[in-house]
């Protein structure tokens, strides 16, 4: 789930941080820049692991902030295909399920990856949400709300930033994980 990635970055240190010792100042600026942000192909940055080197410190004319070249390690959240993750259900609708890890919410199980066979029942005739049931033999098992669900990662995609979005659409998700429940041992952990 988590990987260490080595990054080199040229950053300027705003003057209000110059009272701190250099390491702390650079750490604080790196956290402001990278923490909780998605880097394409690398994943979601969870934390700055450590700083390997800091070079530079020159001040360019007309600028009050010194520029440093820092090399550091970041802890990235990047699930690989085939990884099994336990997450919580936050939304269940006709297109499938949406799961959350607390720090990452854009995990989708599209309806063609639900355990086979299964069917969907909407809560009321007009609502957009409902419950999915897995039909195993004679019985139907429900996937209840807020349950811990184990799923296998199918793919991780980084959609490009859209230029314009229609007004009511979901906020843009820079990283989307698609999962599957169609294997033995997957689904709500209460089932197994």
């Amino acid at each position: 789930m988590f990987y260490l990635s080595k990054i080199e970055h040229k950053l300027t240190l705003p003057p209000y941080l110059l009272t701190l010792p250099i390491r702390e100042a650079i750490l604080s600026e790196l956290e402001r820049l990278f923490l909780d942000k998605v880097i394409a192909k690398l994943g979601l940055c969870i934390s700055v692991y450590d700083i390997i080197s800091i070079k530079g410190g020159s001040v360019f004319p007309g600028d009050g902030a010194p520029t440093y070249l820092a090399v550091f390690n970041l802890i990235m959240f990047r699930p690989f295909t085939g990884e099994i993750i336990t997450a919580k259900l936050i939304r269940s609708d006709a297109n499938g399920l949406r799961l959350s890890l607390g720090f990452f919410d854009d995990i989708y199980i599209p309806k063609h990856h639900m355990p086979d066979p299964s069917h969907y029942v909407s809560t009321t005739s007009t609502s957009k949400t409902g419950t999915w049931y897995w039909d195993y033999g004679e019985e139907s098992f429900a996937i209840g709300d807020s349950e811990e669900i184990k799923f296998a990662v199918q793919s991780v995609s980084y959609p490009p930033i859209p230029v314009e979005q229609p007004k009511d659409s979901k906020p843009f998700a820079p990283m989307v994980v698609n999962g599957s429940l169609n294997q033995d041992g997957l689904g709500p952990i209460a089932w197994w």
Partner: protein, 161 residues
């Protein structure tokens, strides 16, 4: 920004949890004091509810030396440490083409190795039901829920206060 090495090393959940703990994260409700950011706390909250919470370096080292006897890929070994499967059926999604690569006895051997080396966490039903609502109330619920741990040979229970 230049990516020097996208993949220096994969980390187990335990290592990330250990790192966050060394930064000062804890279950303490007053979280302003530690130098840990809110987003890092969310990761901490997630990991504390997995079996990574009760693992130690020695356990994982023991597990790694034992699992070398079986022919598993690095991703599968990592998956098993993170999930801690308790039954054969939980191994099936982790290992690709399990029935073809491993006979049933070997799969049970792997489960037994996991049971022996990696400690387990048992959480009461009440703690699981309490996890609704936003992150702030979540931490309180985890404080109130009962997290009991089973001792493995010679391992001391960790402080859950």
């Amino acid at each position: 920004m230049k990516i020097l090495d996208a993949n220096v090393a994969p980390l187990t959940n335990f290592e990330v949890l250990d790192f966050l703990r060394s930064k000062g994260a804890s279950k303490d409700p007053s979280r302003v004091i530690a130098k840990v950011a809110m987003s890092e706390y969310k990761v901490y909250d997630y990991l504390v509810n997995t079996s990574a919470n009760v693992q130690t370096r020695e356990d994982i080292a023991e597990y790694l030396s034992g699992i070398k006897l079986h022919d598993l890929s690095e991703a599968e070994i990592l998956n098993i440490v993170n999930i801690r499967p308790a039954a054969v059926v939980e191994i099936y999604p982790i290992i690709e083409e399990c029935p073809d690569r491993f006979p049933d006895e070997e799969v049970t051997e792997i489960v037994e190795l996991v049971e022996k080396t990696l400690p387990t966490v048992t959480i009461n039903e009440t703690a699981v039901e309490n996890t609704e609502g936003d992150e702030e109330t979540d931490t309180q619920a985890h404080e109130n829920g009962n997290v009991s741990q089973e001792k493995t040979e010679g391992e001391e229970p960790m402080d859950t206060s």
